[in-house]
């Protein structure tokens, strides 16, 4: 057989290997996609956020009851014209009210911090598992003006993060 025959066989093998490689890479790239996730929905539907809020609610409500009881005492002091006691109670009431506000703000900040600390690595893990190039956080503030359901992976991600959270 002529050497040109072998050369053409080798060439056609190389071409077919290269082209199948290109097809594989392009198909792989097509599978990788962009997703949109509603960050607010994800945050609010994360079970840990709901549970932490429920825990904090008990604590803050107990503080709030102390305020209610002080209000009643102030009313009684005012009714009996005991101005000095009423003033002292009122000062205490204001101080506690401010304390409750601060606690509420701090508690919200802490929950926010704790939840994102847990969500961020899970979002990354989810993105890698789904072979996503990019996850865009939609939060109703104008960063994503429109997306159809195809790109919206919020429900899937909510299910994923909650399953991981429940330790299954």
């Amino acid at each position: 057989m002529k050497p040109t025959f072998y050369r053409s066989i080798i060439l056609s093998v190389i071409i077919s290997v290269l082209s199948s490689g290109l097809v594989y890479v392009s198909l792989n790239n097509q599978n990788r996609k962009t997703a949109v996730v509603d960050a607010v929905k994800l945050f609010n539907q994360y079970n840990m956020k709901k549970e932490l809020e429920a825990k904090e609610k008990v604590r803050l409500e107990a503080m709030s009851k102390v305020l209610d009881s002080l209000t009643n005492k102030i009313k009684l002091a005012q009714a009996s014209k005991d101005d000095q006691t009423a003033k002292s109670l009122f000062d205490r009431f204001n101080m506690l009210k401010q304390q409750l506000r601060d606690e509420y703000t701090q508690s919200n900040q802490l929950i926010n911090q704790e939840v994102w600390k847990r969500l961020n690595p899970l979002i990354e893990e989810f993105g890698k598992k789904k072979k996503l190039h990019l996850i865009i956080g939609a939060n109703g503030m104008g960063s994503v003006l429109y997306n159809d359901e195809y790109y919206d992976l919020t429900p899937e991600l909510v299910t994923y993060v909650n399953k991981q959270y429940e330790g299954q």
Partner: protein, 207 residues
């Protein structure tokens, strides 16, 4: 006739051995309990911390405890353990090789406060959900490693309600991490997983 008998006996044997629990020697048993794929050890990863929750079956506890004790009374210990569930909750910072108690502590007082939390208060932040019951720990121990390694461990034990001598229902351990602010750490162990734990082949075996 002979062939059909042989076939019947083989099927019977296959069924008996297939339905029975797996049996493992001591070393394999320990490996089984510690392997992630068997779902008796769960990992919860955060940005800079990692928690490992290890469920410890009775045979596993006994094997580890009897390692260097020739006079170890296995039967007595098994009786003590009946009706309880034991877990190790280990944690470490992933970005450093020093203990999480020490990492980021700004003073000795800061370190002492952290240690004090784990010695005296952390048990209040742990519960076990067993079926529909929420159980509080009956035993808690913080294994202080005195900064010789990055991993710190809480050992926690619960008593089952009713007459359950072994875990028969789904279990979920919850730890509310108030110190490092990682929220609630959960690890679930299904009744099926617990039922599938192999038996120890020879109870006199040691590791």
């Amino acid at each position: 006739m002979k062939a059909s008998k042989l076939f019947f006996v083989s099927i019977l044997l296959l069924l008996v051995t297939g339905c029975g629990k797996r049996q493992l020697n001591a070393v394999d048993y320990v490996h089984y309990v510690q392997a992630d794929k068997n779902h008796l050890k769960k990992a919860v990863k955060m940005q800079d911390m990692e928690f490992d929750i290890q469920y410890k079956p009775y045979d596993y506890i006994v094997l580890l405890e009897s390692r260097n004790d020739p006079a170890y009374d296995r039967e007595k210990r098994m009786k003590q353990l009946a009706g309880t569930a034991w877990f190790n909750i280990s944690f470490r910072k992933t970005n450093t090789e020093i203990s999480a108690l020490k990492e980021g502590a700004t003073s000795l007082n800061d370190y002492d406060q952290r240690l004090n939390y784990f010695l005296n208060y952390a048990s209040k932040d742990i519960v076990l959900i067993y079926g529909s019951d929420t159980l509080k720990p009956v035993s808690y121990l913080f294994e202080n490693n005195y900064n010789v390694g990055p991993v710190e461990t809480m050992v926690v034990g619960f008593v089952f309600p009713g007459k359950d001598t072994v875990p028969l229902k789904d279990m979920q351990i919850n730890y509310y991490d108030r110190l490092f602010h990682n929220g609630i750490i959960k690890a679930s162990f299904s009744a099926e997983t617990l039922k599938d734990i192999p038996n120890l082949l020879n109870t006199n075996n040691k590791i």
